[in-house]
């Protein structure tokens, strides 16, 4: 539906003839090993971290230099062939799912750290460098890269830029957007381009803010300059138990209302706690209805002061038990369960679907209670981990994909959570992106005119619509088919002047 090729173009060539044509066009620009198209070789690229959606690409290109990236883009642009850029493929929304008639461009070979500059506290890295590798390289200077998505051991900075990734520390340290100074890359036409700079702003519009989080649809990123920040001297974590989810939700709001910005503020419900305790044996309170992890970092004096204030607030909010990490081992143990929520869920269920909506903090308990009702309605279990501090939910709906009815109920369950989140004043994706997974939900969050304006942004960067087409923004017809399209009171309907019926 969002396919960029006209039906005439598609119809004029069979897929295999198109493949031959693309291979021939790319061969002069790439070493033989950097161009693959046989089915058995392209299988590993057929999905990203969202394995439920699969598509074999026409061709996979693995450029090693920026010149090769430019050449691949130019050749594809000349032929009108879509290009899907891909990092480590850890994304959770199908943002890197291939296009059936397109080239998947793996940037895995761009894995060089170009420069760590302790004086300017910046790192210049190629797009395929892993998130954690940046912090590891900066560690000798007592610096690190702050955004820490749970997949940081594997995910790449290029992917982080595409998704505007967050992590458990983004309440205090910000998202990718707040920690990237400059993105270097190529337009859909293969023209080199830079967004942002090593200064704090640029002439003209802030296109860097638009490119970050655009899921590879506006430009191809090859090099990123990130900010590094001093490593806090100390971090300590409080683990607090609550016998009621509403009390836990209120405690989250109370911590913020007290003027505290914790380095991390996470929540797990009872089923999630049971699942992770079984997996990591961290000593979690299995009787608690919800557990909060609340972290403070900074100088030892600062942390002591803040831990005192946090403890007081949590106690006042009715915490039934409070433990504070006394050393780094203990702190990491407190976090081990939270960090392993996904694999722990994988152990208790054949499949799980992870959601990623965000709601205003004050609605935490409301959404948890609503999800409990949905468990009954759809006959499926759900474990919940929340980045509570920023209202970002990760409900994990457990199901068995081999049972078509369970899969169907799971999809309805997920859509219900997203729509409820929007109704509570939230958004369908906090950090995982829309990709292909949440295209329908975009119809619920945005009006037709809003989606059309986003298509306009896409056209401004990529007039031919060749970079990762079909992702993020739903077409009008898709929303019509889904049967849901939001109209806002007091706002113009699309084509409001058009007579209807």
């Amino acid at each position: 539906m969002n396919a960029p090729l006209s039906s005439a173009e598609q119809g004029s060539l069979s897929a295999s003839a198109r493949q031959a044509q693309v291979v021939q066009a790319l061969q002069p620009h790439l070493p033989a090993h950097a161009l693959i198209w046989h089915d058995e070789d392209t299988v590993p690229y057929e999905c990203d971290g969202l394995t439920a959606y699969r598509q074999r690409p026409l061709v996979v290109a693995l450029p090693e230099t920026e010149a090769q990236v430019a050449a691949v883009l130019k050749a594809c642009h000349g032929l009108g062939v879509p290009v899907v850029a891909r990092g480590a493929g850890t994304g959770l929304s199908g943002g890197a799912m291939p296009h059936a008639l397109g080239v998947t461009m793996s940037l895995a070979k761009f894995n060089r750290i170009v420069k760590i500059d302790p004086v300017s506290r910046t790192a210049v890295v190629q797009c395929g460098v892993r998130n954690l590798a940046i912090s590891e390289a900066a560690a000798p200077f007592n610096l690190y890269y702050a955004p820490d998505p749970s997949s940081q051991i594997a995910c790449t900075i290029g992917g982080n830029v595409a998704e505007n990734s967050g992590g458990v520390h983004c309440l205090k340290y910000g998202l990718t957007l707040h920690n990237v100074l400059r993105v270097r890359g190529f337009t859909a036409e293969g023209e080199p381009i830079e967004f942002g700079s090593e200064a704090l702003d640029c002439a003209g519009l802030d296109l860097l803010a638009l490119v970050i989080g655009s899921e590879g649809m506006l430009a191809v990123t090859t090099e990123v300059t990130v900010k590094l920040v001093p490593k806090p001297q100390l971090a300590r974590c409080i683990m607090a138990s609550f016998d009621d989810v509403r009390k836990a939700g209120d405690a989250v709001a109370a911590v913020i209302a007290a003027g505290i910005i914790p380095a991390g503020l996470e929540m797990m419900d009872k089923p999630m706690t049971a699942a992770v305790e079984d997996f990591v044996r961290a000593g979690y309170d299995l009787d608690a209805a919800a557990i909060l992890l609340c972290e403070s970092d900074g100088t030892p004096e600062e942390v002591e002061e803040e831990i005192g204030r946090m403890t007081e607030v949590l106690r006042r909010c009715g915490a039934t038990a409070i433990a504070c990490s006394e050393n780094e081992d203990e702190r990491l143990r407190f976090w081990s369960g939270r960090k392993n929520a996904f694999p722990a869920s994988g152990r208790i269920s054949p499949d799980y679907m992870c959601l990623d909506s965000t709601i205003p903090r004050k609605r935490l308990a409301d959404i948890l209670l609503a999800i409990q009702q949905m468990e009954i309605k759809y006959g499926l279990r759900c474990c919940n981990v929340f980045h509570a501090g920023d209202g970002n939910l990760h409900p994990l709906v457990l199901f068995d994909a081999n049972d078509p009815d369970e899969l169907h109920r799971c999809e309805l369950f997920g859509a219900d959570i997203l729509e409820t989140s929007v109704a509570m004043g939230g958004t369908v994706s906090g950090e995982h992106g829309v990709g292909v997974e949440k295209l329908n939900s975009m119809c619920v969050q945005f009006t037709a005119a809003e989606n059309e304006q986003m298509f306009g942004v896409k056209r401004a960067f990529d007039p031919a619509g060749l970079l990762n087409p079909g992702k993020v923004i739903p077409t009008l017809s898709r929303c019509a088919e889904y049967g849901k399209q939001v109209f806002r009171a007091g706002q113009a309907m699309p084509f409001a002047d058009l007579p209807r019926f």
Binding site: A199, G213, F461
Partner: protein
């Protein structure tokens, strides 16, 4: 913000689109000096005033674009919260919409971020008169493109911001200002060195005072952290009240340095580690080295821009010298960036209703 007020604005925009007329969006008109000259009939946002919602525990305020900035800041202060990026107010009377459209940030910018970093979502009226909502009231939101943030600093060229949701933060429990007597090069070295240490840095300014270089450093954070940093860094601790007044004057450019003579005022945005620039006169240095103000006689445009570019940054003719002939205010864009800019303007405002020349003159020469 009432629906009627918004409806009237939508009508004006639609009528202008039909008549091929140009509208110049105007809030408090306190930054008329900034950017290229305005053209077209004024489209006032004053009627879009009012706080839509504010919940301190959510750290979010949603406010109409015509709301006076002073009103918003007073509201936040009443709850012990603030806009940490300290938008400059210049003469006073400015609005929230103007703050977003100009995209300017004050002394704390290098440590805490800019307007765009605190902009969570907004209601926009585009050149077709469509009322569009992007972003939201939550901290994390990757549903669709982050359209709202590109409005920060867009100078009214993409559309009219009717309402915005801003992230706010608690006022830091402690603050201290330390003065150090040192030259510009030493100040830059010290700032970059301190930046690599876990210190509660918040703002800095270096300038000549009676011919002697003085670096003022503002610390903000937990009481313990500020006290520990004061002990560690030395310097001369300033009287709190006087220091606060000084930072205020700097934020609003009421500081005497900015009113020195008939020269043009240039804003150079460069990497914080850029060395002392090869330009005449002593600058006023903010943002831990990232923002350098220069006063230059008319006709120095080329030299100033070249110096900024050589350092990896850009230069803005912030206030031209009185009576000087027209010179471009902003640096020219690279060819691919300029193409995307023009295409974006056409997508948001196909009939060029909004005065885009304020941001991007009709013809520019790319370097």
């Amino acid at each position: 913000m009432t629906t009627t007020a918004l409806d009237e604005i939508v009508e004006r925009i639609r009528a202008a689109a039909a008549d091929r007329a140009t509208l110049s969006i105007r809030g408090g008109n306190t930054k008329a000096f900034y950017g290229e000259a305005a053209h077209g009939a004024a489209l006032e946002t004053a009627a879009l005033a009012g706080i839509t919602s504010y919940e301190p525990s959510e750290l979010v305020v949603t406010v109409g674009a015509g709301t006076p900035l002073a009103e918003l800041e007073a509201l936040l202060a009443g709850q012990g919260q603030c806009l940490p990026f300290e938008p400059p107010r210049f003469a006073g009377g400015g609005t929230v919409g103007g703050m977003i459209a100009a995209g300017l940030s004050g002394p704390a910018r290098a440590s805490v971020g800019a307007v765009r970093d605190y902009l969570l979502g907004l209601t926009l009226v585009n050149g077709r008169g469509e009322v569009l909502v992007f972003g939201g009231q939550v901290m994390k939101n990757v549903a669709g493109y982050d359209v709202s943030r590109v409005l920060a600093g867009s100078m009214g060229a993409l559309g009219l911001v009717a309402q915005a949701s801003l992230k706010v933060l608690p006022v830091a429990p402690a603050e201290a200002t330390l003065d150090f007597a040192c030259g510009q090069a030493d100040a830059l070295r010290l700032l970059n060195e301190w930046g690599g240490r876990p210190l509660p840095l918040n703002a800095s300014v270096w300038r000549l005072r009676d011919g002697v270089g003085v670096l003022s450093l503002r610390l903000r954070g937990a009481v313990a952290a500020v006290e520990a940093a004061c002990a560690q860094l030395g310097g001369e601790r300033q009287d709190a009240e006087r220091a606060a007044a000084g930072w205020q004057a700097l934020r609003d450019q009421q500081h005497p340095w900015f009113s020195a003579g008939a020269a043009a005022l240039w804003r150079l945005s460069v990497p914080q580690t850029a060395p002392v620039l090869d330009l005449d006169g002593a600058p006023l240095v903010e943002w831990h080295g990232g923002q350098r103000w220069y006063l230059a006689p008319p006709g120095e445009s080329h030299r100033v821009r070249a110096a900024a570019r050589a350092a990896g940054g850009h230069a803005t003719l912030f206030r031209p010298a009185a009576g000087a002939r027209h010179e471009a205010r902003f640096d020219a864009l690279s060819a691919p960036l300029e193409r995307i800019h023009r295409a974006l303007l056409n997508e948001f405002d196909p009939d060029a209703v909004f005065d885009r020349g304020r941001l991007l003159p009709a013809t520019t020469t790319a370097h």
